[in-house]
Symmetry: C2
Subunit: 595 residues, 2 copies
Amino acid sequence: MRSPIDNYLADLHADLLGLDTGVPFQGIPAMKDADNSKFAIAIATVDGHVYQVGDAELEFSIQSISKPFSYALALDDMGLEIMDEKVDVEPSGDAFNEISLARDSGRPANAMINAGAIATISMIRDRDTGRFERLLEHFSAAAGRSLEVSESIYASEALTGHRNRALAYMLRSFDIIETDPTPVLEDYFRACSVMVNTRDLAMMAATLANGGTQPITGTQVMGQEAVQRTLSVMTTCGMYDDAGSWIAAVGLPAKSGVGGGLIAVLPGQLGLAIYSPALNPHGSSVRGVEASERISADMGLHFVRAARLGRSVIRENYSIAEVPTHIRHTDAAEKLLAEYGECARIIELAGDLLFAGTESLVREVSSLDNDVELVILDLRRVDEIDKIAVRLIHQLARELSDESRTLALVQELAFEELSSLRSFPSRNEAIEWAQSTLLARHGSPDMVPETVAVRDFSALAPLDASDIAKLESLMEESQIEDGRILRRPGQEFGGVYFILGGKVATSTLESGKAVRRATLSAGMTFGEIALSAEGEQITRVTALGKLHLKVLSAASITQLEAEDPAAALRFWKALARDAYTRVEANIKDSTHPLN
Amino acid sequence: MRSPIDNYLADLHADLLGLDTGVPFQGIPAMKDADNSKFAIAIATVDGHVYQVGDAELEFSIQSISKPFSYALALDDMGLEIMDEKVDVEPSGDAFNEISLARDSGRPANAMINAGAIATISMIRDRDTGRFERLLEHFSAAAGRSLEVSESIYASEALTGHRNRALAYMLRSFDIIETDPTPVLEDYFRACSVMVNTRDLAMMAATLANGGTQPITGTQVMGQEAVQRTLSVMTTCGMYDDAGSWIAAVGLPAKSGVGGGLIAVLPGQLGLAIYSPALNPHGSSVRGVEASERISADMGLHFVRAARLGRSVIRENYSIAEVPTHIRHTDAAEKLLAEYGECARIIELAGDLLFAGTESLVREVSSLDNDVELVILDLRRVDEIDKIAVRLIHQLARELSDESRTLALVQELAFEELSSLRSFPSRNEAIEWAQSTLLARHGSPDMVPETVAVRDFSALAPLDASDIAKLESLMEESQIEDGRILRRPGQEFGGVYFILGGKVATSTLESGKAVRRATLSAGMTFGEIALSAEGEQITRVTALGKLHLKVLSAASITQLEAEDPAAALRFWKALARDAYTRVEANIKDSTHPLN
């Protein structure tokens, strides 16, 4: 099926082909006869998918769209402060080729006008490969393919660039350029003569949108600070004397070039590029501006509309008393947990933790009752954590700790910046920790029994002492080493396993990886799931440390049924009761998650 | 516990109190002696929470911060096009009191400089209550409380505003102002003399951040288009001749006033306001600018950093064959569903559907195998749906339909804009629809049996014909009317209910509201959950349409146990098997959701 986005772009392209005002750039002989029937639109997403329509592989010279990328390279080379001394960041309100130098210092108004771009080139370091080679590599890395210079356009630029020569000497006279301006100018002309197609420009714009990392190759082409600064300057200065109405109508940082290209960037989302050579009086592509306005309005890309709503990232806030336990306890321990369960709360988060979302989280935790001793943040549905969120979460942990309260996290793939905090890979494990902590703080040592006798298993509660003795006489006892696998997916029913001491972990295999599901401890049973209609084990059961088991094997059950059908009936009723207890726990559990 | 955000603001406030450069505005006698030890910071979130530190309740005159709000009101009154004819949207690069009128038309460069603001006032309609009363109500609605004019500041403004009078007459001479300029000027002076405190300004900024809706009162104070335009102009023109470095360092639309106030807006997230009267040479509060830079950097508010990553909104993509059915079918139907289950896929989405997220969704659906006939989008975790997303989803539905494929949605609280599409309130119901659709398309009419005989119940599959006959002889038969409640939470075990024909719905009560959980149809049983350790029913079971039941009551089971213990044993074994089949289904189900 063809994507509706391709359809949309195709319709827009067809529609705007009819718009044939404007003329190609006349300043350079090699460009003035450009074919205005050529028209391309490309959108590259930050995950590297490209939508394109029209002549998206047709090459043209990059011209002024080189400026933001030269600026980013210079910023990475020299740092923001030193660059600011040479080139300011203020909109000039002037056309691209205006002089716009500060009266006293000679500092160009910004790096998007010619004077600022020439000064910028002079700041790029001449390393092993030479300055222009570095620039070309930089552009190529952002585009994701090797770009080349058009020698004919370069020759034409060099031949006709009198005004730019004047600017360069003016900059030299103010010591903004501190060396011979001629090689700087040559590199500037070369940078403007790099040949790109619309797809390249979309990828270069997407590299800016993606914080400087090229979406497909994964190369970090520019530093994040350089990107932030470059996009800021593109916002106020990218469209020359048309900046205000551009921001009002399109609302994206952008840059146009007299070659007919135009890029716009939606930070974090996508890069847009358009090519069509006929220009408006501001020197920007007529179809490019019109297409940008239409795309921004139709797709909701304007920075105000694309803003993420600062909605709460909190999905749930509940105490561990409201969650089925998965871990069985003695009656005394259960009673204590029922009493103190409210002292451990789980806050489930979802989405991205930027300032606004984290702010709502911090507010929620700060306003928790003082009785809440354990705060568990469930981060499994969180996608991204900003610097401020990391700091605020660490601060929360410290402040809770000052009050003898504890913060813990549930995270499947741990966020590295939070790795110093207590974390659990699953909610079950966090709850298990919270329960033991509460029992240790408020209970007596016998509340987490190390061993449970067969007669105390809740699964057998409906049976009387003689039935239990009978069952126990049929069981086989064993001591198991840590790590041994007791049950594997696919095995048929092998009996009911009673854990007298120690623990086991159950896990399921998903895409070949074991995913831990529950921890079972003394007093619990396993193995019965294989009694289901499918008749086979679906979880893997592994000993966690030393394990003491009694097993009522399938054969023993058959024996019991033959020898004492009435006792067997009571046993099966007890098993059915135990199974429905689990079904019930699942129904209750699913009040939180999706049904 | 004190919020770390309050702590942060308190530290920042204490730190910046030491910054004592700048002087209060000297142009108006009533303001020139403002106490520069006063300093306040307030942040209001779009959900109405306010953090504040310092003298946040101290009042001062709003001055130029009135301009964006006057502009928004004029835009709402006159529309964007008419306003654009009167006031342009380009940065002037000049100080606030520069003339900056276009040479030919006399049109002011933008609405944030005095000339543009005066022209803006002239465009606000004089309705029942008079122009200035409307303005004051507008400011008050954004602040969320009744604001008042300082008569002494107004008198001072009116007395010393010669330059503004000159601007007004200049605007009149160009017919930008079409009436007597004197009352316009009076209203302009009054608008600048409205008294606000820092908290008010933060709420007014948050109203802009919140798309024009006041966060606390919920009043729609400004239209969304007016807000988008106003924030755009604030971006390029709000800080006068300091716009470029402001965007580079702070990266937020903003407005300062010579009264010492300053607001900044993070669209969708928050409004920031600062007050301190000493000004820098650009006419903005020294501490205000410094605090804004620090807060933006520390909290990651710069528009490039606050950008949401265009990550995929797709959480899962699986076929209905991978989900436990909840609905039992005949063997032939089960076989057919196993074969065709891949033809119905569920795509689970989460987060906000803006362009980038929807783009990934559209890409996923477009690339589905052509065999996929039914596409179910599970929107239950989606928070917000943008216009473009609505359009693309409708387009997807149409394009799938053109290929005889069907799109359906799962949404708990339906998004109104998607209400014309086929929607189900739960995944279960969507799967039920998908299964019936597949059976109807690919199977024979007998595959969805209207009635099932007791001998064909899968729960009784392990039993032989004579056991089943015995059980059936103990059952009571009944015909039930639509809507009757058969089981209620809290009831003890009343027997096993066999559905011979018709359907029931099970639901649990959450916060007093019934939440539908499953639909059971012919061939299925209910009532057994009350066999659990708790010994009571936890779901409500209601007849959906006419229902034909047979019930094996608790008393009949007791009777069977007494009369024929061997048969009773086999019956209980069958029940245990059925229960473990459900436990197993839950374990499998939870491979998708959280464990």
